[in-house]
């Protein structure tokens, strides 16, 4: 089964508004990462938060991690039309066999100009 489940599956907001996406996972992790995928393109790394961190910022992005609830959220403030994309969380699992990221199902974000 999938490690990450994201919520909502799709989100439509007006430019300038904030967008919040959530990710839940099932097993213990080393770190959790967020990626963006524009239509027809590859994934681009946005931010990494380690299991011993609770919050991290990068520009207009804010990520929180709650390991007790096995959940993370990505907040994009003052959204722009260019933020329209799919956003994925990815977990680097503890005790995994080898190095791999396990991706969530993604949230499709549409920012209306």
């Amino acid at each position: 089964s999938q490690q990450g489940e994201e919520d909502p599956q799709a989100l439509s907001i007006q430019e300038g508004e904030n967008a919040t996406m959530n990710c839940s996972y099932k097993t213990s992790i080393n770190n959790l990462q967020w990626y963006r995928q524009n239509s027809g393109r590859g994934l681009v790394h946005l931010i990494l938060i380690r299991s011993n961190e609770r919050e991290k910022h990068s520009g207009r992005l804010r990520v929180t991690l709650d390991t007790s609830k096995k959940s993370s959220s990505l907040l994009i403030t003052a959204s722009r039309a260019a933020d329209t994309a799919s956003y994925f969380c990815a977990t680097d699992l503890q005790k995994s066999s080898g190095d791999k990221l396990t991706f969530g199902t993604g949230t499709r974000l549409a920012v209306r100009p």
Partner: protein, 112 residues
């Protein structure tokens, strides 16, 4: 300069054919991966190589065979293509499994 490049970008082929997708990274990373993204955008790892050595082989049919001639290249060969193989295949690399992965632009494979 493209960091992770894969070719071709689009591949349309008939069932039963054999095809290859090539991937190269110029980042000096030790680990390379192949991921498959299906029509619902679900992304699943297929293989992971570290310094030319196979580390991860998820439950992928043995029609799929990765080959790593050196640590900068990880190619994917697919035999006897089936309709269900239609997907976007992404190559990625990372300095190690605990840091960010850099993805190629993807190869959209359509089997007809």
């Amino acid at each position: 300069d493209t960091a992770v490049s894969q070719t071709p970008k689009y591949l349309v082929t008939q069932m039963g054919n054999d095809k290859s997708i090539k991937c190269e990274q110029n980042l000096g990373h030790d680990t390379m991966y192949w991921y498959k993204q299906d029509s619902k955008k679900f992304l699943k790892i297929m293989f992971s190589y570290n310094n030319k050595e196979l580390i991860i082989n998820e439950t992928v049919p043995n029609r799929f065979s990765p080959k790593s001639p050196d640590k900068a290249h990880l190619n994917l060969h697919i035999n006897s293509l089936e309709l269900g193989d239609s997907a976007v295949y992404f190559c990625a690399s990372s300095p190690s499994g605990n840091t960010e992965a850099f993805f190629g632009q993807g190869t959209r494979l359509t089997v007809v």
